[in-house]
């Protein structure tokens, strides 16, 4: 049964009352009128958007899991409560500084980043009602305030890095698109190749295989694709990649093994059906060309400053 708007309003009002009652000692004078818009936005964002058929008790449970203390603090800060701002800075400056240090390459950059965070949170622009417009409005209380602050710091760090970096996202995406859609005519002749003709042929075959692989990766389901991207492209450890997906390292390892098999069959199918390779050529490419890739990519890895994978994390 779909919850109608009046039911939703009633649930929001009740939820706000319960949230204020749950907030420990100090709710900073926040009333239900201040909380209800935030809570309504949160339930629409995290529950109703993907679950239109949600039941009233699920909505009530959703409200009961919101972080009451943190949400009251942020709402009070947004409302201009100075005491709340003081408490916010006092309680979370260490968290912000730590997150800034993690996202920065040096101490000075980290200090600048931390200072920028507070400015971003407070907001330099002023809204129509005269109150500053900052990132505080985006905190829903779904997760912890400390975690939200770390995410804000990481986001700001990425934005600053992109502004300073010469390589931008669109260029990288275009390069990947070229890998998939276009025939690579800019094949790089690898240094140290004795026979240019053989090297060119090898490079061409390798590029074809990589295109087929990129295409196959896009065909994977989201979870598998995310794991592949985290492990092979973002260079996360298996444990870290598993943590993003919420699975154990061993589970992630088994999934990768399964994905290898899946990808291989897809790549072979693409090479045979779309690129016109024979089965023999395909199998020979895997057995003869791929082992040489370890040597071929070494310069690339050195240039990017990334180390090769630490050991074999994937279960055999």
């Amino acid at each position: 049964m779909t919850v109608n708007s009046s039911q939703l309003e009633s649930l929001v009002a009740d939820g706000a009352k319960r949230l204020i009652a749950r907030s420990g000692g100090d709710s900073y004078g926040v009333n239900t009128a201040l909380l209800e818009p935030r809570m309504r936005a949160a339930v629409e964002k995290y529950l109703l958007r993907d679950n239109p058929e949600v039941q009233p008790q699920q909505i009530a449970s959703f409200f009961d899991t919101l972080q009451s203390d943190d949400l009251c603090l942020i709402v009070a800060c947004e409302n201009g409560d100075e005491r709340a701002w003081t408490d916010l800075v006092e309680r979370f400056s260490a968290t912000v500084r730590s997150a800034a240090r993690t996202a920065s390459s040096n101490e000075a950059t980290a200090e600048d980043l931390a200072q920028s965070i507070w400015a971003e949170l407070h907001g330099l622009r002023v809204r129509d009602d005269g109150r500053p417009s900052g990132k505080l409005a985006y905190y829903s209380g779904r997760g912890s305030l400390a975690g939200w602050l770390r995410a804000v710091v990481a986001q700001l760090a990425i934005d600053q890095h992109r502004k300073q970096s010469r390589l931008v996202q669109t260029e990288e995406d275009a390069e990947f698109d070229r890998l998939i859609d276009h025939d690579g005519d800019g094949a790089r002749i690898l240094p140290g190749s004795v026979n240019p003709e053989v090297a060119t042929a090898r490079k061409f075959a390798t590029d074809e295989m990589q295109k087929a692989l990129a295409q196959s990766i896009q065909q994977l389901d989201a979870e598998d694709r995310l794991l592949v991207k985290l492990y092979y492209f973002d260079n996360l450890r298996l444990r870290e990649a598993g943590a993003v997906l919420g699975v154990h390292e061993a589970t992630a390892s088994r999934r990768l093994t399964r994905i290898h098999t899946d990808l291989r069959s897809r790549v072979e199918r693409i090479l045979i059906n779309e690129k016109g390779w024979t089965e023999t050529e395909t199998h020979r490419a895997f057995s003869e060309l791929v082992p040489h890739l370890d040597t071929d990519i070494e310069p690339l890895l050195s240039e990017s400053g990334r180390l090769t994978k630490r050991g074999s994390e994937i279960a055999g």
Partner: protein, 377 residues
């Protein structure tokens, strides 16, 4: 083979990942979906999302390197994973079953199970070995009994068996042992004797009303069949002595093999002048005559301080105030003979071998002789 294929895919994926400095994602896909804001990333990292919402975020993250890099950098991503999982992911029977078979549990459960299995198998093997040893001894004992019974029968046949009535050869003597009779709850189910009367008292009720003869024949008629003179006792004695010596040797061997806790052996046979055999071991031999299903029971009885003795090559087990031939089986009919009665004197005259046994064992005794069970008291 499989491992090399995995390595090939591993290399291919690493090459693809290394060929682009940043993560390779579909620009088209990213443009079509909104980036995750800090609140959504934090909710994802802390596992505070419904399954459907999470699936939507995963689909975006799979194609958006910037959002992915932020998510991966958040320490709460790892912290939340190490803590309890979000309720949406932890509920259900399969989740609990999966948790039960998680590596952390199996790490300790499997060695414990292996250890328990080893201990169990060892225990069973030792027990089987013990039973096999009992079987070997009991088989030897039964053979010794048969050999002893055959000459006895031959000796007594002169006094008891009429030519018309062929003496029951030892081989055909039914194996009336405790187990068979005890196993048959219905006393009327005597396997060898024809038509045992119902209401036959079990072994434990020997002090109950005396039973009738197994063959339903008058007692006196049994002795009228004995027309041959009793055999000279001398030939028997050597047989008895040799059998006893053999039994004693076997007893000593068995005693060494087991930690026998049985009671003291019975009084020595004066005619033999030898130390009495260990009742416990001897009864163990008898035990081996039993079917496997009864052995356990008999072994327990053996272990329970039962008094046994060997007289005249027969093994007797004390039960209450009576000495019961171990060859006697519950439910078997007995011929009641009172000491000092005319019947007793006739029987003793006709069966000197029996007399030797009965005179050594005072009080009430149940003995199998010539295929008949005599209850002398």
């Amino acid at each position: 083979m499989k491992e090399s294929k995995d390595n090939q895919m591993e290399l291919l994926l690493r090459t693809l990942g290394a060929s682009s400095p940043m993560s390779v994602d579909s620009a088209v896909t990213v443009q079509q979906t909104e980036h995750l804001d800090a609140d959504e990333m934090n909710a994802f990292a802390e596992g505070q999302l419904s399954d459907r919402t999470r699936a939507r975020y995963v689909a975006h993250l799979a194609d958006c390197g910037s959002c992915r890099s932020i998510i991966a950098s958040l320490p709460q991503t790892v912290e939340a994973f190490s803590k309890t999982v979000a309720p949406e992911h932890a509920s259900g029977f399969w989740a609990r079953l999966t948790a039960f078979f998680s590596p952390a549990v199996l790490r300790y459960a499997i060695p414990a199970l292996v250890l328990a299995a080893v201990v169990g198998v060892s225990f069973l093997a030792l027990r089987q070995q013990r039973e096999t040893a009992f079987v070997a001894r009991n088989e030897e004992n039964s053979e010794a009994d048969k050999r002893n019974a055959a000459p006895g029968l031959e000796g007594s046949s002169a006094t008891t068996a009429a030519p018309a009535q062929a003496p029951v050869p030892a081989a055909s003597v039914p194996t009336e042992n405790y187990a068979d009779e005890r196993r048959s709850k219905n006393p009327s189910e005597s396997s060898t004797k024809p038509g045992p009367p119902s209401g036959e008292a079990p072994l434990s009720d020997l002090n109950a009303a005396p039973a009738t003869t197994a063959t339903n024949q008058p007692v006196d008629s049994l002795y009228k069949q004995a027309e041959q003179p009793p055999p000279p006792p001398k030939p028997e004695a050597p047989v008895i002595m040799s059998e006893t010596a053999k039994e004693e040797a076997e007893d000593r061997q068995a005693r060494r093999r087991e930690n026998d806790k049985l009671s003291q052996p019975g009084s020595a046979d004066s005619s033999r002048g030898a130390a009495p055999a260990s009742g416990g071991v001897l009864s163990a031999r008898k035990v081996q005559e039993l079917p496997a299903s009864q052995r356990g029971y008999e072994l327990k009885r053996k272990d329970a301080d039962e008094e046994v003795r060997t007289v005249g090559g027969r093994h007797f087990r004390r039960q209450g105030s009576a000495w019961i031939d171990t060859a006697f089986s519950t439910g078997r009919s007995t011929i009641n003979v009172s000491r000092g009665s005319e019947h007793y004197r006739t029987l003793m005259g006709d069966e000197p071998g029996l007399r030797a046994i009965v005179e050594q064992i005072g009080g009430e005794v149940v003995v199998i002789w010539n295929g008949k069970a005599y209850r002398i008291r």
